[in-house]
Amino acid sequence: MADDANPIALNRAGLIGKPVDRLEGKLKVSGTADYAYEVMEKPGAAFGYLVGATIPRGKIAGVDISAAEAAPGVLLVWTHRNAPSQPAPGTQSQAGSQAPAQPELYDERIRFYGQTAALVVAESFEQAAAAARLVRIDYEADAGAAVVFDDMHAAARDTGGDEEAQKGDFDAAFASAPAVIDATWTTPVQNHCQMEPHASLCWWEGDQVYAFTSNQSVKRPQHALGETLGIDRNKVHLRARYIGGGFGGKNNSYADLTLSALAARELKRPVKIALTRQQMFHMTVHRPATVQRVRLAADRNGQLTGISHETISHCARADRFMERASAFTKNLYAAPNRRIGHKLALMDLPVAGAMRAPGEAVGMLALECAMDELAEQLGMDPVDLRILNEPDVDPTDGRPFSTRPLVRCLKEGAQAFGWDARIPTPRHTRDGRWWVGTGMAAAIRGNFLLPAKAQIHISAEGIVTVRQAMTDIGTGTYTILAQIAAETLGVPLEEVRIELGHSEWAPAPGSGGSFGAASAGSAAMDAGINLRSKLAALAVGDAASPLHGGDPAKAEFRDGNIVIGNQAEALGDLVRRASPQGVDAVGAVTPDPKGREYSQHTYGGHFCEVGVDAVTGEVRVRRMIGVFAAGRILNHKTARSQLTGGMIWGIGGALHEENHVDPRFGSFVAQDLAQYHVPAQADIAGLDAWFIDEVDDIANPLGIKGVGELGICGAGAAVANAVYNACGVRVRDYPITVEKVLAGLQALEG
């Protein structure tokens, strides 16, 4: 679309980019945004409570639910023996279905620790929880149920899928290079730990089911529930108005949705189920652990001649989700000889899944530290090494970049941080008991656009309403859609309503993979443009309008008016008179095949200063900045929050986040937020992030790119590199905790 026809590029009212506060912010901070478990539209809900299995693999040998059934307030107790019959897992019987059936309590098999083994529904939450502990289940563990976790190498098997990324002769390049790095990094299991637990509230009206749930998309759980219940999915009215964090862990729906719908049908009353904080660790997905070997080969000037990044990721025995930690390495640095590989190690663990920036978030913890080690070996500045290896085209497939401002980000970040004052030799600065050092890393994240639609309506009062089967998982989707609609129609932000989270409304892909704003937003703009055409036609065809007989192609929309030449009419006046029921339009975005001819990514540079306690090995971040490029920015406030939130998560990935697998039980040790550590406020000092000015006209009609995952990418590597620069200890086994730093400090002390 030409810029002079693109209302977002024109930005007449200046709403695009404006740091508008979240529209729903007040509801959230005042506790009045109704999340799924709190929806009061249908009072009188009974409370469900799930019981998780306590073996990693095997079967249920015996069940006694009599005590639970006799407990006060109990309405229903189900195990696989008496739960309603459901379609087999994976059943996808309806045409165009986006998700298979997800039955629960359908057989005696236990496939992972924590798998739902029973459901109790009672009049109160407390009664259900108390009765759940009276459910007696005897398990018979499979003799072979051994969780191979210490030896990922032994369990690893090839997956294929990286053939296009093999270039030249890496082995030869590596063997002949004067400078090489060959090291292995490991990253642990991580859990999403969303603030809002997974929760669902369901009720039936005749043969129609209403399901409020906490999910990153609307259509996928709607389709899954339709398949699971064996009913036409159009009878499933799925609602997801507010979601308290998703991070990939709410791409799927879980037992809370399936079982609340089934129990509501059985009991003929609303039923709601929330996972407890403890249950979330096993009953949902997690980020797999990885073992990553990175090898770099370079000439004496630092020009890379070979890059190899090989990842082993664990996955559940019954699933094939893996952490593709090497994937971004295809696109980041130039080198003629390349090897990318991924292997799976099957474990008797819960099913893994996507977690914020799957791949990059942990992959960059390896590659970007390997680059730091190479820079040190060559005596080069780490920023210069990256700039030297900047490719002109995608180094794997040769496609041109849609935009590629990585070097700008690195240079601007270096200048703002004061990087030129850096001392490259470790253990150079002592501040009391702290060794102080700095580190940097690049950031890259793939950019995506998915098909989406939007419906838009203007009322006789001039209120513009956009409706989409879209979600806002806490990122600001409501707000940026309002900015797009207001700017497109030339109306004040206050006259726009955004209604999301209804499965009946125009389909959108939901929130995930940083594609939400681009996909939903492009459709919303298109809907707005189509509504403008209808309003223009309405005005010029209406004898009572001052615009009557004008050229609709010349219509402009500003300040709440439609304007042709020197004639103007308020939109509300026009609609009230000429179409008092309002005017509707729809819009859509379909990814342009031309977009696939370009390599599309977002970029950034992280710069970090840490202190390392010389006595204890404790690491604390002292200051950190990130400079990013993500196309046009719709809202500098919500976008910056995504970046800083990502960077904080990156700090956590470097220093804090880990769940330990206890192979004796096939379970994770940490099951609450006291044991599973994410950064606390006191861990984050002097953090800042901003965007460089750019527009990506290839990516989508808005010229934007996704920002939800970019901030985490590379952030932890900058921390790790700073730890080394501070104290001289390279820890390649994340997170960088006290015992690992201390061992290094002791070794250096001799």
Binding site: A129, T616, H656, S667, A670, D683, V738, A743
Partner: protein, 312 residues
Amino acid sequence: MRAFTYERAGDAAGAARAAARPGAKLIAGGTNLIDLMKLEIETPTHLVDVSRLPLAGIEPTPDGGLRIGAMATNTALAVHPQVRARYPVVAQAVLAGASGQLRNKATVGGNLLQRTRCGYFYDPAKPCNKREPGAGCAALEGFNRMHAILGASEACIATHPSDMAVGMTAVGGRVEPVDGEGRTRALPLSELHRLPGDTPQVETALAPGELITAVVLDPPPAGRQLYRKVRDRASYAFGLASVAVAGGQAALGAVAHRPWRATTAEAALAGGASPDEAAAAELAPAQGRGGNDFKIPLTRRLLAAALAGENA
């Protein structure tokens, strides 16, 4: 959570009487007990709420010590002028623990009696001798990074999680429990918590129902005071190791089933040993279980640095 009955205590002796009944439990701030009840690790059938008893005062004793009412909140303790001026190690220790919200609610008595944060203790699906005597200890061969290196047993390697108690232990003093007859006794702080031995479920020397009414700190020892805590993040994390120093006295935290008075190091220092030597002597009997081996050098370094006065 199991159903329970509830009463609000009218006086300390009455509370002790009510709490001595089988299945009864005292509750004050509830910051630990309620979590444990939700997980059914604690299953009291009756709660005796002592939070409104008039036991929150903090005042000097005639001999130069400080009497701290058991119902004083952790926050009130940390900000009290007497504590800040004369017992900075206690103030620092309190502020190193939990979060502002928890400290506002948690009491001094409850802080002393909080239970371990061993992950296996908190997971009812795993064996734990503390929860279920005789069941076995999952931590012995499990994930024991946070666990005890001093005074542990084959039955239990859990640690006491309090920071406040470590600061108080370095200073020394006594607790004053009252029983159902209204009789108050003086129990030295160093004797309040027990080592696990074969009965890790018995954590203190208190008789059933006995209610701590006050902590009476000894007069502050001459010399500097400091508290240092090593933890995985800058706030809101239980310690990997901590040290409290009050003059020539020292205590360690997060290394044993109780706050650990470093008497060996104190004696060594008094005998002319260097801080390094004193710390090494204190840690000489330490024993790791794999995941927590690092805590031995960590604690030794931390103690040596604290004894040497390094707290920049």
